[in-house]
């Protein structure tokens, strides 16, 4: 009798433990990714709406703060790999490092500028899809009576976090667009020429006041 009771308890306990252990992460897994994107965007909007950062003499500092927030959630390594695509494997480690740094600066300025134009937009976080180690978070940006804008974020799972590797605005992928440009420049000239052009663009952006 005692033996049969022990045998009876174990499967139930194991089953309950299994359900307990694996169900919670499965239900919270999806929202964790969207939460991460939301926190980053909310942090940027908070900076934009804070009165202290609206002053003219604070704009440069505000831009740097936005770039810091962006750098924590954007994986410049993953973006660089995808933007160079078939040209990536031919690069030396030094070239890759230089490219990631330069491309990262370009992306930071690009995204920071777009987010700086936000005023009273409402962002709705919608559908989320996950496939192995990549995820897609869909958002809709609504502003007054303008047509809503669809912005999708593509993320990849890294060691520490889910990091953004692309964003797609109204069906147009930023990384695909850059990939087309980089491929063309490398074919026509060289990788070194591409780096020179990118650095020139980054310098122009630093000089330009937004």
């Amino acid at each position: 009798m005692k033996i049969s009771k022990k045998l009876y308890k174990k499967p139930f306990a194991l089953f309950a433990g299994f359900v307990f252990l694996f169900s919670a992460p499965a239900f919270s897994y999806g929202s964790e990714i969207t939460d991460g994107v939301k926190k980053t965007i909310d942090a940027m909007i908070e900076v934009l709406r804070a009165e202290e950062w609206k002053k003219e003499d604070k704009k440069a500092e505000r831009r740097e703060l936005l770039k810091e927030i962006i750098a924590k959630k954007f994986s410049y390594y993953e973006m660089s790999r995808r933007a160079l695509a078939k040209h990536w494997k031919d690069r030396t480690p030094e070239e890759k490092k230089e490219f990631i740094e330069t491309f990262g600066k370009l992306l930071e300025s690009s995204y920071a500028k777009k987010i700086e134009s936000f005023t009273d937009e409402k962002i709705h976080y919608g559908e989320e899809k996950v496939r192995k180690n990549v995820a897609l978070v869909k958002t809709i940006i609504e502003k007054n009576s303008d047509d809503p804008i669809l912005v999708n974020y593509k993320l990849v799972r890294t060691e520490n976090d889910w990091m953004i590797y692309d964003f797609v605005v109204e069906g147009v992928s930023l990384i695909k667009n850059y990939r087309a440009q980089f491929n063309r420049i490398i074919h026509q000239s060289s990788f070194q020429e591409l780096i020179i052009k990118m650095k020139k663009k980054v310098d122009n952006l630093s000089d330009k006041k937004f």
Binding site: Y8, S23, S28, T34, H124, G126, K129, G171, R179
Partner: protein, 282 residues
Amino acid sequence: MKKKYPFLVFFIAVVFILAFAKTGFSEYPWPPESSKSTKPAKAEEIKPDISIELTLKAPPPLSDFEDEFEDFQGIEGGEDVEYSDPIEPFNRFMWKINEYFYDYAMEPVARGYIKITPEGFRKIVVNFFRNISSPIFLVSSILQGDKEKVDRTIGRFVINTTIGIGGLFDPASNRYNLKKINEDIDQALGYHKIPNGPFLMLPILGPITLRGVVAKIPQIFLGPEFIFGIGIIPAIAARGVETVNEFSFRLDAKEDLDSFAIDPYTSVKDFYFQHQKTLIKE
């Protein structure tokens, strides 16, 4: 108590699951779909047996889910998508001409237009021209066999022409939740997998493909100029107003292109094709 122990643990587990389910989904407007997918992609599941291969139907097209991640296949070794651009030197020359035209003609006119016209008026102009393009939306939707869009086009046209006072306003979107439609004959041809043909950069008109040029021909007969017998000069003037009005909403996009593109011509070309693909998919 000892006898009830397993049931108690099971009961707590079920309550925990239900509590997490509610917390996880309640915060967002659209409840997320199934979070972590443990199923392999459809393409990986298809392993046809040779003996029954001939009886299998063609594999289904990529779902939206897979299509959105197709670029993942292009990392470090995949083939880039190449768009046909056999007359690229000429197109680039036209692009430069257009840049001068936009920077020294269109942009100053658009900025002046913005200064003298309130945003509400400019939206009325957009609504009006969108409404009179309904025959084009309708024919394109019919050619694609999209019954929902056909119904929506007719519904939008009737509501906006009547309640919307000749299409100046858009109660179809704002009050009746009938989403805007953006269709043309070029998209219908793309839907039926007719190739784009070579890319063209037209003077003033901007990027298009050979398929797009061909598609414009039947559209002439669906436009209000032909339907209402409007003369050429008034028609050109009206289209001029429409173009300036539309450009006034895109000044930011032009600025972004100038600021962030390393090769603006290639950027515009790629944007055009990606955008077309999205419109056709919709």
